[in-house]
């Protein structure tokens, strides 16, 4: 590793904006640790709580990294997560947890294929496709659940997808790490990952190089919706119920986490590890603002301001 570190330092200096998360996260963390220590910020339970709250955002952010890297965007993730909580809960009630999990995943795949089809075959920009899908998914969730919460009475499901813990470590952390490791390897070290980056970095050039860019875009949109549905399953497991409001507004947190992490909004550059740390940073900020005793309205304003500041710093200027 001795030969690697000098080049690491060099590349860090050259690309500090892309790597701002690795400065920003420790700075915010230390700042909160110093100022909010008495309110229990460093308490292990509080820290584990941050992880629990962050896991869903992180899972969605990992897939969103692929979407942004391919030069597309998915605004429907929050609503799709909400829809999945409802389909999972309703299916568990009639057919048990295995069917419930299947229904959740299928919800994600179906929405993703629809998004992908509209974007790559009909040619509607993913920005609009997924913006419309956000409303459709939410509407469907409200409609099939009659806007009511659907309880989940399967302890096994709730343990595996939400409240469970192994040696005090929440299962949600395992899910986050598992998805993170797979996502990182796929983006960095597989032909698919390289094709995603190439598609976002220069679509014409990618096509001329023999890459089926439409198929790549289709696949990342399916990945994103499926990950969103999985995040919904985690929400459902944690809260032991399905509700259309779960995941509402998560798209902002997810996209902010990814961009903060160093992925380009314009495609071609992406980092899964950065996205996970970005998600953790947003979780820490949310937690800190609550511990400070801010009202919800103030939290929204402070969080928006911090995200804008951080994303502005992370943008590459030419």
């Amino acid at each position: 590793m001795t030969t690697v570190s000098p080049t690491l330092i060099q590349s860090f200096k050259a690309n500090w904006r892309q790597n701002i998360i690795y400065i920003g996260f420790p700075v915010i963390f230390v700042l909160f640790a110093l100022t909010l220590n008495e309110k229990g910020f460093l308490n292990p339970n509080n820290l584990l709580n941050i992880v629990r709250q962050t896991a869903m955002i992180a899972v969605m952010a990992i897939a969103m990294t692929f979407v942004l890297s391919a030069g597309e965007i998915d605004l429907s993730v929050g609503a799709v997560a909400g829809l999945a909580t409802v389909t999972v809960a309703m299916t568990i009630a009639v057919a048990g947890p295995v069917a419930g999990v299947t229904a959740g995943i299928l919800t994600g795949i179906a929405v993703g294929m629809f998004n992908g089809w509209l974007t790559t075959r009909i040619g509607i920009p993913s920005f609009l496709t997924t913006l419309a899908m956000m409303g459709i998914a939410k509407g469907v969730a409200m409609w099939i659940s009659n806007t009511a919460a659907v309880p989940i009475l399967s302890p096994g499901y709730s343990w595996l997808f939400g409240g469970g813990a192994l040696a005090k470590i929440p299962v949600l952390l395992f899910w986050m790490v598992l998805f993170g490791a797979i996502g990182h390897m796929v983006l960095r070290r597989t032909g698919f990952g390289r094709r995603v980056l190439a598609t976002g970095g220069g679509e014409t050039a990618a096509r001329y190089s023999g890459i089926d860019t439409k198929a790549i875009k289709f696949r990342v949109l399916v990945m994103s919706s499926t990950a969103a549905a999985f995040a919904g399953m985690l929400y459902a497991g944690r809260l032991q119920s399905g509700r259309f409001q779960l995941g509402e507004g998560d798209e902002l947190s997810v996209i902010a986490a990814v961009v903060l992490g160093g992925t380009s909004l314009f495609g071609g550059r992406g980092t899964v590890v950065g996205s996970i740390i970005g998600a953790l940073m947003i979780g820490v900020i949310n937690n800190g603002l609550i511990l400070m005793g801010l009202e919800y309205s103030q939290q929204l304003i402070a969080r928006g301001g911090i995200i804008i500041l951080a994303v502005a710093l992370s943008q590459k200027r030419s």
Partner: protein
Amino acid sequence: MNEAADGKSSAAGQLLAVSMAGISKSFGGVRALDDVSLEIEQGEVHALLGGNGAGKSTILKVLNGIHKPDSGTITVAGRKLTAHTPEESRAAGIAMNFQEMSLIPTLTVAQNVFLTREAKAGMGLIDDRAAERKAAELFAILEVDVDPKAVVGDLGAGQKQLTEIVKAISQDAKVLVLDEPSTALAVSDVDRLFVFLRKLKARGVAIIYVSHRMDEIARIADRATIFRDGRHVITAPLSQLPIDTMIEYIVGKRSKGLSDVERGTAVKGEVLLELRGVSGKYKPENVKLAVHRGEVVGLAGLLGSGRSSLARVIAGIEPAVSGEILIKGKAVKIANPGDAIGAGVALVPEARATQGIIPAHSVASNMTLAVLDRVSMAGFVDPEKVRSVTDGMIKRLSVKTASRDHAVSTLSGGNQQKVVIGKWLATDPDILVLDEPTAGIDIGSKSEIIRLVRELAASGKAILFISSELSELLAACDRILVMSEGRMCADIPRELLDDVGIPEHDTAHRLQAAEQRLQIEIQEALKYGQEIGNDDGKSNAYPEL
């Protein structure tokens, strides 16, 4: 003829590397290729020539599976292509560079070279280190200096082009297509590329070489095929195609190329543009020059010598950090493009597509973009004025466009360039700076543009003409300055080039001799780098010499 599935053979009985027969292709009613054929033998360098819109790019894209032909057959080494996809063409052994179009700016050089053919380390995982090593080996064979770890977006034009070429040759292709591979390369890089191409040729690789540069074709090609207006004109060995004949086939009967441009004698008036010790942020450095009314001053030099930077300084895009700019004898401050336009300076920039035009907008809106204030009343654009300005320019420059309302992107390269020139002429400048105005333009349009430059000078403008092509500088300029590393290093008067001891009437040979003379003068200047225009007369252009 043997039309069976095993394909055609050449006269020598050898299997043809590529045989394209009866290919037609239309785009929205416009016939880009009309029943053309192209046959390439193994182990030959085959030049593909034609003006803009002749169909060269289209047939290459058909061969590469980017476009599907409407009709016709393609046979590669005896195997007929059926799917017409990039994957199929690649599998058949065809590799091509795409004039910077096939590089992903956000990936590294090595990642680009081996895109979709990544080295694997096991378990299907990509091994970038191995790719970097392999790329470094390829660059070493070509003896060029490109860092495989560098991100492509950070590279200069020449290095991008080399990356593109290495990407094409790394595919171990049976047929290598090089589309304008040398536009951004230094002369020495072109020489090394040719050495390498000859090695590939000896191994039986067929090479299709597309270039606007006739001298390159003459050096490297064995045979040539010429297209015009989407039709096949001729295929013949190069020995039967002298340059004049080739040009005639390329442009038809309308022009004989650069040699017939009337240069006339410059009517030198007062000094319109003068620079005194002007330096930019990086380049240029301490430049002194003067351009007179009615004069075309050429600016020669290698890529990166600071010619374009000097143009941007004069046009206020990258304002000077020191020195004095005088226009009509008065010192002016040029801090932004608005100041320059106000002072009567116009720049026709080098990158036509990004800096010169807005491709999707109409001819009219492009031509009036720099004079919006003049065609507006109380902030509202007056369509009548737009029409009269545009129609006037279209006529004056004989721009070939279906109408003033057609998008500029529908025009040929030469006519797009005329739109850019027209846009700046509309500002009624005294001083016109042209940066590589004929890059990527066919020889017919080239001579039209050079003729236009001469006419503008004759009408009393001062013109600074940047070009990398000596024949063009010779055809257009009254005086040629040479730049190197941001400094002026030679001022070559016209008389020196005309005094070549060949009688007046033998124009072709005179020009040839003059071009050789100019080449020698420029090389001398670059070698010894005596800086000119320095008041103290001391040279510091090449302190290491």
